[in-house]
Amino acid sequence: MKKLMILLFLALTTMAYSQTIEEAIQTTLSQFNPGDRTATMAAVNRFDLIAKKWNTDWVSHYYAAYAKTLAGATETDVAKKAQFFNEAEKSLEAAKENGAAENDEVYALLAMISSNRIGLDPEAWQKHMEVYNANLRKAKQLRKENPRIYYIEGISKFYTPEAYGGGKKNALIYFEKAEEYFKNESKNDIRKPYWGQEHNEAMLKDCSE
């Protein structure tokens, strides 16, 4: 009986995936929980499948990259972290090749990956910083109202030691600026990514204390 119920559940969930790309992404996104490793990996794998099925649509690769970036950021094994970031960058390359070469979100996410790499490999910070800055510049050039740009800058400042110009105080202004833009962002089209507001608010609170 139990087995049967599982089968039924699986059958239903499998069915649930035969949808449009937007629905597929939406569903996976709603199940995504960076705090839960199993759920995170399930989302990474699912986004990868979506990217394989709709491989000529940049948005599929974008979310695959997004999931991998977060999976990398929450991974504890240093070697695996780097591999997640490598994979995420490959996905973003694919996004660029499939219509997102001039999309600010792609460059913002690339910057986020580089900033994560600094933490991973602090001795090579100059090299990563160069890439980080170049991508942020490009993102700003394309759409400076993108709140994630400032959110990512804030995070990067937050984790930079105070002696090197980072710390809560220095990060705060970035989170505040991000907040302004997050407020005006519509959150109903997955083709216009809108993630980050919740965490930005949490960081904002942390830095204001």
Partner: protein
Amino acid sequence: MRLLISFLLFIIASLDCVSQSTITGKVTDQLGNSLPGASIYILNTLDGVSANAEGTYTLVTSEKGNQVVVVSSIGFERINQSITLENKIYTLNLKLKEAVSELDEVVISAGTIEATNDRKVAVLRPLDIVTTAGAAGDIIGAIQTLPGTTRVGEQTGLFVRGGDASEANVIIDGMIVQNFFTSDVPGIAQRSRFSPFQFKGTSFSSGGYSVRYGQALSSVLELSTNDMPAKSNVNVGLNMSGLFGSVAKVFEKNSLEVTGSYINVAPFYNLANTNFDFYKAPEGVSGSTRWVHKNGDKSIFKLLFSHGGFSSGTEIPDINNASQRSRFGIENNNTYSNASYFENINNKVYSFSAVSFGRNVDDVTFGTTPSKTEEWRLQGRTELGFEINNNLQLLSGAEWQRFSVQRRFDAFNSGFDETQTAIYTELEWKPSRKFGVKSGLRGEHSNLLNQFALSPRLSAAYKVGKQSQVSVASGVFYQNPNNRYLLANKSADFQQAIHYIANYQWITDKQTFRVEGYYKSYDRLVRELNVPFNPNAFRFISGDIDNSGSGFAQGIDVFWRDRKLVKNLDYWISYSWVDTQRLFENFTARATPTFISDHNLNVIAKYFIEPLKVNIAATYTYATGRPYYNPNSTEFLNDRVPYFENISLNISYVTTIKKVFAVFYAGVDNVTNRKNIFGYRYSTDGTQRFPIEPALYRSVFVGMNFSLSAFNRDEL
């Protein structure tokens, strides 16, 4: 109940007109550890699941017939498993193999220690060089703490594995730098002209180096300049020997940097009590500009131009009469430029080309005698790298150099012009990730000597464990006779050295152990014929020379570095033992030269006190006593000076004041104020001896550096 089952079956059947197959199993690594989060899916479908925390999975699919199940997990090689699906339940347990990462691949490294950011695991990082205590921020000072080197306090240059300073070449972006060091003042080791912050990579070869280079019997120090700066910034520094500033502006694909400095060593020398009197403290002005154009990962172009000059006046021991002092005044002018271009033509082919021009003029007043040395060097290199297949890589290139040294000593003029050309090719074969071989051939020609020579080079490495490898290297190296002979218009053939090196290395991201043994045979060294020994480096060369000299050097170098033992503590120990003898120049018998210490030990420690943001660094150096020439001794170069010992301390504090990033640093060299002696000189009649002393005993150095980036207000 039965009804419910029937009902459910009906639902399934109606949802999915066709029936389904179920695949279940467990995903593990080779050792049987479960791999949670692994992805299992059917190729070309959306049917996929993830392994749970125990590594098990259940995949239900309506696909039929011959299908491919793909299993992947981060850090492992993907598996494609064929399966025929016929509406049944299948069990599929899968074992994944760990993917090859850079960490696991063999690196052909005998003879070379690299400080780089480009590799995931490196023996040293560029910053390690800058922060070594006692190096005073000089790249050579830091290199001299690495195994295989000897610190020769009264002479300028790099002394590697029994070789003298002329046997080591310094290379920047593929180009030999003729005047890497500040112009020589007899008896005082000089610093390099280049700031260590300019370089992103340092590759120090103490033997067996690549076919790309020649004309160095012992060693090549290869420096690569930074790519684009990370951010636009303004930088200002001030210390006891001068002040310097730089501005860098970063555009999208271009960057421009301008630097300027004013050097005046008077405050430093006044505080340090020098052993030599400076009637004019070293003072100089220099500047540089640099332009970088970077087109993603596809290509990078770098252009550097620098110009500087300095003057100084020192009372040094008279070179002809040990009991006297004489005045040595120098005015120097130096220009250096370098342009290089690297391009990934496609993912299989890259090209590298570089040109460089350097010119150096020293106006010297030695005692009352004026002399002037004018040198220049123009050179070019071009090379192509091909990836023939996954295991085979080919490098081919050509090099051309023209240089000239002209000297006027009082009324005597001497000089020479030389043109050297070389072609080289090197094949790298890595049949597996565990084993690699590099074999190369270099042909070089000297116009001045009218001679051609072929140097074969070979190196191989085998990975014996996950973190350890053994490697070997060998090669033949040629070098022109010392400039001293060419300037005297004496000619001989190439001198020759053959290296044999064996190395074991164990490296993790926090610890490194490295031991290297070598044997080097020197042949065809230049000898002066029928002259008595004279220790004076400025002696007049009157007699004939030939290539009848020879010698050997053998030894063991050990290096240990640990960053694991104590948090925030990084220390390394390098020890070298060298046994060498040679018969060359004006030696009267085979002997160990005066620039050799048999045993050399360096201990470097750096500790970061996190709450205070303070870095403390210490360097301990010990070297056994070097030989010196005693005219009263029956055996040639048989006497030894006392051992050398030095302790240096460095402390630095980093902070941010408003938007300005600041570093304050202070250092003490020779903390114990030990009176090290480098050798002795004897009066002409041999009855009196005078110690050769360092320019300074204990000295204190303080300075600060401020940098401001994000000066662009619109950044936020």
